[in-house]
Structure formats: structure tokens, C-alpha cells
């Protein structure tokens, strides 16, 4: 153990101030969430009579949650249906994104060919153009592909590789010695075998990072479904909440809050376990990009 320095009063004060700011910002950040959770557990009468910060009388009052999951009168889609839609979209677009993104990254990293940097530049420049700028024309493209009003439009839009995922793959590929490729070639493997049997499995950590980052992005997205797929039957969890918020009245507000809790629960729980990956992905993607 190292000898402890005695703290000067100034240092102690500075430390105390730093902690104070941390505690204050944490309370500010957590208060809306606290209010959400306690309110979602209150019975209708209690919800109207108490303010939004006091805890519920019964922490285990699940009536709002049951009502959110099994609504008495259905307005459009149920939570279950929305989760199913979101799940289908997530799985399909992640599989495509991983496959084609890693293939593009492999080609760009392992082969020297003309246009290689052009492709990378195109990804950096064009994909950086926010989707919100091109809805008018992207909508026309989706119409041409007969994809409007269906969740497959979202799968197509989400499965195009983004520059962050691409850079995560390329960065990881740089760490895989090309001697692996050479060795496999001497043993008789062609490039497809090298990629699918060796490189792709070795990319697992990079794939994990991309999956986690994109899952957060896709699961939480609102803009694309709002603009391209407003159909209630095709609603993602985002659109389901949006629609529900449109129908709400005073008595059903607590039910909406319960639905919100159900929607944020998977990502928040996932985040607690996988935050390391998210931080690493954000740092490598945004700082080195």
C-alpha cells in the first residue's frame, strides 16, 4: 500500500464540490424516470389524487401493465404485436447488416483495388447525410421497390451498412494478421472459405459491438417508421407508443406510462450488462471516425 497523502482543505472542498455536481445531475437525470415508474404503478384514482413523485401505495399494483398488454379495447396494434414487428425488423436487418458490412470491410481491408478509398469516402460522406433530409426522394425509391407501408421498408433502410459499423469492422480486421489469409490460401482455401470459415468467426467481438450499437439505434428509432411506415398493423414499439399517446385520455395516461416502462425495459436492462460494448463502440466509431 502506498502512503496516503493528507488532503489539503482546498482539495477536500474541490472534491466535495465535484461530488455535489455529480449527485445533482444524477437526480435531475433520474427524476423523470422515477416519476414514470411510480406513476405507472398507481391505481386510476390514486394517479389523479396524488402528485407524481410520491411512491405508489402498492409497489406491486400491476393493473396498468396488464391493461397495457391486454387492452380492453384495441386501438390498432397490441404491445405484443409491436414487439414482434420490432423483433422481426431487428433480426432481419442485423443479419443483413453484419453480413454485407463485414464483407465490404473485408474487401476494403484485404484487397488493394482501384476505387477502394472512393467507396470508403462514399460511405463516410453519403451515409453521414441524415435520413431526415431525404424523405421525399427516399419515399419515391421505396415506392418503386413496392416497399412502402411495410416493415420490410425499414429492414431495407436499416440493413445498409453505416460508416460507424464499417469502421468498427475495418479496425478489427487490421488486428487480424494477413498471415491467417496466407496460411489458408496455401492450405487450399479460396477467398470465400477464408472469409466465411476464418475471418467471420474471428470477427465475433466486432460483430457483438455492432449488434449492440445498432440494436440500440434501430429499437429506439422513431423517424424512419414515422415517415415511411405509418400503418398501425406494421407499427414498431416506437410507433405503437406514438399512436397510443395520440389516443390517450386522463384515465388511460397511467396505462401509457406502463407501456413506456415495458418498452424501455429491454434496452435499459441490456445496457446495464453490456455498457462496456456501447462505450467502446461509441468511442471507436465517433472519435476515430
Amino acid at each position: 500500500m502506498s502512503r496516503r497523502h493528507r488532503m489539503t482543505p482546498l482539495k477536500a472542498l474541490s472534491l466535495a464540490f465535484q461530488y455535489l455536481t455529480l449527485v445533482v445531475i444524477s437526480i435531475i437525470v433520474l427524476l423523470p424516470l422515477w416519476s414514470l415508474i411510480v406513476s405507472s404503478l398507481k391505481a386510476p384514482r390514486e394517479y389523479l389524487d396524488t402528485n407524481r413523485i410520491v411512491p405508489p401505495q402498492n409497489w406491486f399494483n400491476m393493473s396498468n401493465y396488464l391493461e397495457a398488454i391486454y387492452p380492453e379495447q384495441a386501438n390498432g396494434i397490441t404491445i405484443g404485436g409491436a414487439f414482434l414487428n420490432t423483433g422481426i425488423i431487428l433480426v432481419c436487418s442485423l443479419v443483413l447488416l453484419i453480413l454485407f458490412g463485414s464483407m465490404a470491410a473485408f474487401t476494403i481491408n484485404r484487397f488493394k483495388f482501384r476505387g477502394r478509398l472512393l467507396i470508403l469516402g462514399a460511405y463516410a460522406a453519403l451515409v453521414a447525410v441524415p435520413g431526415i433530409l431525404t424523405p421525399v426522394s427516399t419515399f419515391q425509391v421505396l415506392k418503386l421497390l413496392s416497399l412502402t407501408n411495410s416493415k420490410w421498408a425499414l429492414v431495407v433502410l436499416y440493413s445498409g451498412a453505416d460508416i460507424v459499423s464499417l469502421l468498427i469492422f475495418i479496425q478489427f480486421l487490421r488486428g487480424i494478421s494477413t498471415e491467417i489469409d496466407d496460411s489458408a490460401r496455401i492450405e487450399g482455401a479460396n477467398y470465400f472459405q477464408i472469409f466465411f470459415r476464418l475471418i467471420l468467426p474471428m470477427l465475433t467481438p466486432a460483430i457483438a459491438t455492432v449488434v449492440i450499437l445498432r440494436t440500440v439505434g434501430i429499437y429506439n428509432d422513431f423517424v424512419l417508421p414515422y415517415i415511411y411506415v405509418p400503418q398501425p398493423q406494421e407499427a414498431t414499439v416506437s410507433m405503437m407508443l406514438w399512436n397510443m399517446a395520440g389516443y390517450q385520455s386522463g384515465t388511460t395516461q397511467a396505462v401509457l406510462l406502463a407501456a413506456i416502462v415495458l418498452v424501455i425495459l429491454p434496452t435499459v436492462i441490456g445496457f446495464f450488462f453490456l455498457q462496456r460494448f456501447i462505450y467502446a463502440g461509441i468511442t471507436s466509431g465517433s472519435v476515430k471516425g
Binding site: 474541490s14 472534491l15 461530488y19 455536481t21 455529480l22 445531475i25 444524477s26 435531475i28 437525470v29 433520474l30 427524476l31 423523470p32 424516470l33 416519476s35 414514470l36 402528485n51 407524481r52 413523485i53 454485407f100 458490412g101 464483407m103 465490404a104 473485408f106 467507396i119 462514399a122 453519403l126 451515409v127 447525410v129 441524415p130 431526415i132 433530409l133 431525404t134 424523405p135 421525399v136 426522394s137 419515391q140 425509391v141 431495407v156 433502410l157 445498409g160 477467398y191 470465400f192 422513431f222 423517424v223 415517415i227 414499439v237 416506437s238 407508443l241 406514438w242 399517446a245 395516461q253 418498452v263 434496452t267 435499459v268 445496457f271 455498457q275 456501447i278 462505450y279 461509441i282 472519435v287
Partner: protein, 300 residues
């Protein structure tokens, strides 16, 4: 059939890139090009045959008739101001957390939570918080008396844009924090050790070592915030449904293009915004490259 190595390589490059490049062209390049074309027509977003070439009339319209556009530009200043506060706070907290005080990880986790929330959920949570009967007023009543009540979200009362900017800070603070924190962690610890040996205090350490090392990352985040504040869409739409005073450029554009079926005008708006964004990106690139040369420890 056997191919020589050269042919095999070419085939691999082709097969591996055909799908990614096709999606890049169809979903990114083509829409941007088409946007320019639509902006020169009176296309009604339904019938191509009736679309007529109208030259720059859509652009002239934007600049001459649309008073709403001025409002949206002013509104984006609220978000810009918000993001400057957000960046300052994020830098402060990143520096504090970077000292590895006990509990650092917990605080970082807490501050990052809003970023992983579903967008709609986050918007509704904040709306619920700031409502007339919401928790925020409840708390203020504890301090300011039971009669205190402010309609934070009522766009006619003048607070709504502040509230929306605050919502945006609440949601994205953690993101900036993590980016800046990552840049801080890339600074070698021995630089601080050397400075401490020479007797530099914390304040000097920050301005001589920390700040120069993260200056570029902060600058890039700032420029992204500028672009972001021009493109605000979800936050007002979700919290105030983009009503009246709180409308933004992107909301107006989507309204014009889809609800009002004036694709030509909407495309002109998008082109205008695209040009602004491109100019900002080019400026950013130029400045960051110069900075990068000046300070070889740059992370870009």
C-alpha cells in the same frame, strides 16, 4: 473449374461488394440526386406525369413567402444554445469521472441511461415530467408554495422552446460524456505524472494537458451539434407535436412534403439544408485537419 489467383480476387471483390454498393447507390446516392431534381419541379409526391419543371421557383418561394422558415431558424438557436450547455456539462463530468473517484462507474451509467431509451418513450417521459400536473411542477411547489404552476410545454407561453432544448440536453448529455471520456482516457497517464512532479496544480494540468488533447474531439462534437440543432425533428414532435411556436425546419419539411403533398417545395427545403450541412462539414474537415497537423496527438 479453377480460376487463377487474379481472377479469383476480382470475382471475390465483385461478389462481396455488389450488394453493399447497390444499397449505397439505391438508398443513398440516388435519393440525394433525385432530391435535386424534385426541388426543380412542382411534383405533388403522387403523380410523376403531372410534375412540371419550374426552375428555381421553389427556392424563390422559400425565401420570399415563408415566414415560418425564419421562425424555425430562430428555434434551432434554442437547441444550439442547449447543446453548448450540454457539451460544457459533458466535459466537466467527463473530467470529474476520469479521476476514477469511487462511484465513477455508477454515475457514468446513470448519466448515460436517457440515451439508451426508446426515442418516443424518452419524449413522452419528459412530456409527462414537464406537464402542468407533472413531477417538475410538483417539486417546485415544495419550494415555491402550493400555488406555483407553470405550463412549461404550452407553446403560447414562451417557455416551450427552453423546455424542449432541456429535453434534448437530458437525452444526449450521456453521449457527449462518453465520447469526451473516451478521448480523455487516450491521454497517457505519464503526462500527468510528469506534470505533477514539476508541481503543476489541477487547474494547470487541465489547461496544459487535458484541454489541448481533447480540443479536437470537443470541436467535432460542437460542429455535430450545430448540424444537429438545424435538423431537430423528434424532440418537439414527440413532446408538443411540433405545434405552433415549437416547429422546426425538419418538421416543416416533412409536413410540406407529406401532409401538404408539395414534394417540390419540401425537396427545395432539403436541398437548402443539405447545402448548409455540407458547408459545415467541409469547414469542420478543413479546420480539424489543420488542428490535427498542429497537434500530432490528435485522435482523428
Amino acid at each position: 473449374m479453377t480460376l487463377d489467383a487474379q481472377a479469383q480476387r476480382k470475382l471475390t471483390i465483385f461478389v462481396f461488394l455488389i450488394v453493399p454498393i447497390t444499397t449505397l447507390v439505391v438508398l443513398n446516392i440516388y435519393p440525394i440526386l433525385q432530391l435535386f431534381w424534385i426541388s426543380l419541379t412542382d411534383f405533388n409526391s403522387i403523380n410523376w406525369r403531372r410534375a412540371k419543371f419550374v426552375g428555381i421557383r421553389n427556392f424563390v418561394d422559400l425565401f420570399t413567402f415563408d415566414k415560418d422558415l425564419t421562425l424555425t431558424m430562430v428555434n434551432s438557436l434554442y437547441y444550439l444554445a442547449g447543446s453548448i450547455i450540454q457539451l460544457t456539462l459533458a466535459t466537466w463530468f467527463a473530467v470529474v469521472l476520469n479521476q476514477r473517484l469511487p462511484g465513477s462507474r455508477l454515475f457514468r451509467t446513470i448519466l448515460f441511461i436517457p440515451f439508451v431509451l426508446n426515442t418516443v418513450a424518452a419524449g413522452l417521459i419528459f412530456r409527462n415530467f414537464l406537464e402542468l400536473n407533472g413531477a417538475f411542477n410538483d417539486i417546485l411547489q415544495l419550494f415555491l408554495g402550493p400555488d406555483f404552476k407553470v405550463a412549461w410545454l404550452d407553446s403560447s407561453k414562451g417557455y416551450s422552446n427552453f423546455s424542449l432544448a432541456a429535453a434534448s440536453v437530458w437525452r444526449y448529455l450521456g453521449f457527449n460524456l462518453v465520447v469526451t471520456f473516451g478521448a480523455l482516457q487516450a491521454i497517457p497517464q505519464d503526462q500527468y505524472d510528469a506534470a505533477k512532479l514539476e508541481g503543476a496544480n489541477q487547474w494547470q494540468q487541465f489547461w496544459r494537458i487535458t484541454f489541448p488533447s481533447i480540443r479536437l474531439v470537443l470541436f467535432l462534437q460542437f460542429m455535430l451539434s450545430v448540424v444537429g440543432s438545424l435538423e431537430v425533428f423528434e424532440v418537439p414532435l414527440l413532446i408538443t407535436r411540433g405545434a405552433g411556436e415549437t416547429s422546426t425546419f425538419a418538421i416543416k419539411m416533412v409536413e410540406t412534403g407529406f401532409q401538404n403533398k408539395r414534394a417540390g417545395t419540401a425537396a427545395a427545403m432539403a436541398v437548402l439544408m443539405l447545402c448548409i450541412v455540407v458547408v459545415i462539414f467541409i469547414v469542420t474537415r478543413l479546420i480539424s485537419q489543420r488542428r490535427d497537423r498542429e497537434n500530432t496527438g490528435g485522435l482523428i
